[in-house]
């Protein structure tokens, strides 16, 4: 065994780029919530950017390695130690048999990622693809490690490539990508029902800082604040529900759909978070504040292009 989880952490699962083209059968995308952090972690260990890796939530794990490996940690900021000495995130780390990696206090963000060289083995087998992906859907119970979160005292093997090419030490200046602290701005554009909300409802939505409710998960982020007041309920026929959709249920408190969200929904949507900001949803921790900022389609596209350009500059092959 190569990677032994002494403690698994609060919610640890295997994720990758998820499933595409199956929403019409009710299968959500799943996969790493912070796709930027996933790409960076994999790049740091010299693997394709969408390779399977571990996703940790709010409380990180304690891991013992029993084999030499290159690993990397990205995403939420934790006090990380390797054999009780501080170790940095966002760079290649070489670990040896007997090394202990510990995730201490969480400083910022909600989800961290750990990538590793080689292919992961679970119960002595290469982790299978379910519907084309190794991503774990925790609520519906499929993919990853039998559809479940990783438990304490779980071990994984690693199949290293026969001719082990040395991974060069890589470092990412991740501060150039984002460093949000505890106050987030999520930029958004129109949703199908945006026009059904009146001016007062829209004002309320765009002019307050919501707080992230602890009941948030990979399906959706629940927000607290001054409810959007419905004088008259907005009733719509259920339709396709995509990542980043900001639904306003009868309570008036927004729910932002995320990677494991249901594929069809029936609540009116006031806006949709732009593609470039979807990865931020992964890092919203309970109590963090969120403000929504309206942008145009053209701006959204420019922001996306710039982000991709920036990422490719940070991760030169």
């Amino acid at each position: 065994m190569a990677i032994h989880f002494i403690k698994a952490g609060l919610q640890t699962s295997i994720q990758d780029a998820g499933r595409q083209g199956l929403m019409h059968q009710g299968v959500s995308t799943s996969g790493a919530m912070d796709t930027t952090a996933m790409a960076m972690a994999n790049w740091l260990v010299g693997k394709p950017k969408t390779s399977a890796l571990f996703e940790f939530t709010l409380i990180g794990p304690a891991i013992e390695f029993s084999q030499s490996l290159d690993i990397s940690i990205t995403g939420a900021k934790f006090e990380l130690t390797l054999n009780n000495l501080p170790v940095p995130s966002y760079q290649t780390i070489h670990v040896k048999a007997g090394d202990k990696l510990n995730f201490g206090k969480r400083l910022q963000g909600a989800r961290a990622y750990m990538a590793f060289t080689g292919d992961l083995l679970f119960e002595s087998k290469v982790l299978p693809d379910v519907l084309g992906s190794k991503a774990t859907h925790l609520t519906a119970g499929y993919g990853g490690t039998d559809g479940k979160a990783i438990r304490n005292d779980t071990s994984f093997g690693i199949n290293l490539p026969e001719k082990k090419s040395q991974v060069p030490l890589r470092v990412i200046d991740h501060k150039k990508v984002y460093h949000p602290g505890h106050n987030y701005f999520l930029r958004c554009v129109l949703a199908p029902e945006s026009s059904l909300f009146n001016a007062a409802q829209r004002d309320n939505f765009y002019h307050q800082a919501f707080r992230v409710n602890p009941n948030s998960n990979r399906m959706g982020l629940r927000l607290e604040g001054e409810p959007i007041d419905f004088h008259r309920p907005i009733s719509i026929a259920s339709s396709g529900l995509i990542q980043g959709s900001i639904q306003i249920p009868p309570s008036g408190l927004p729910i932002v759909s995320s990677v494991d969200g249901q594929t069809i929904g029936g609540y009116p949507r006031i806006a949709v978070v732009i593609s470039a900001d979807l990865a931020k949803l992964a890092q919203l921790a309970p109590g963090d504040s969120v403000m929504f900022v309206k942008v145009s389609q053209e701006q959204a596209l420019t922001i996306l292009k710039n982000k991709q350009q920036q990422l490719s500059q940070l991760m030169l092959e």
Partner: protein
Amino acid sequence: MSNILTLKNSYHIVENGDSAITLLFDLSPSEQLTKVIIQLSTLLKRRYNDTPVLVELIPAYNSLTICFNPLKLPIQTLKRLLKELLQEDLTGYVSQARLIEIPVCYHQSLAPDLDYVASYAGINPQEVIAKHTKPEYLVHMLGFLPGFLYLGGLMPELCCPRKQVPQLRIAAGSVGIGGDQTGIYPVASPGGWHIIGQTPLNLFAVGEEEPFIAAPLDRVKFVEISLTEFNKRSEQLT
């Protein structure tokens, strides 16, 4: 909604974020409309076959949501293409619809809310079963959970408002009624529907080549089975 003229005047295309658009029809759900939506989805899939331009096509009662890569396909091009396709006659779609029989055991041990639904409807449980197994339900779409079928055709007498407080866990295969809908929970999940029975079939067969038992435009008929039969078929599955 049987002619092409009605269709041409009753849709609009709305933006749905920066990488999706939704085609919305101002029409009530019907088999005709579902045929048009599935036909459109098929045509779009064919047009962009094997290219990463279209990411998802999600049909629903009166809409089709199209997720695309905005870096590869400008939103205006996609809108124009949709408008072109809508000029064509989409009403003649011939699907390979099947009639799928779904065995359901309505035994009280698997039907905690059957008595409630019966008393709400003012009939006895046997009559609920008779009315539930009578129609051939139309599959409008799949969604919500993997393999969940949105079925049309529940008899109005069986409509029953959802529970005020959803149950924390409903077993996979549970057959329920919620509002004017009936359906089967493909995986264990929380839910607010009234459970009137359970099927031994697996609606989300992970790992199988065909994980889902039905597709849009198929018809579904519930067939009552005994508890003995249910147990036998459940064992065969495991």
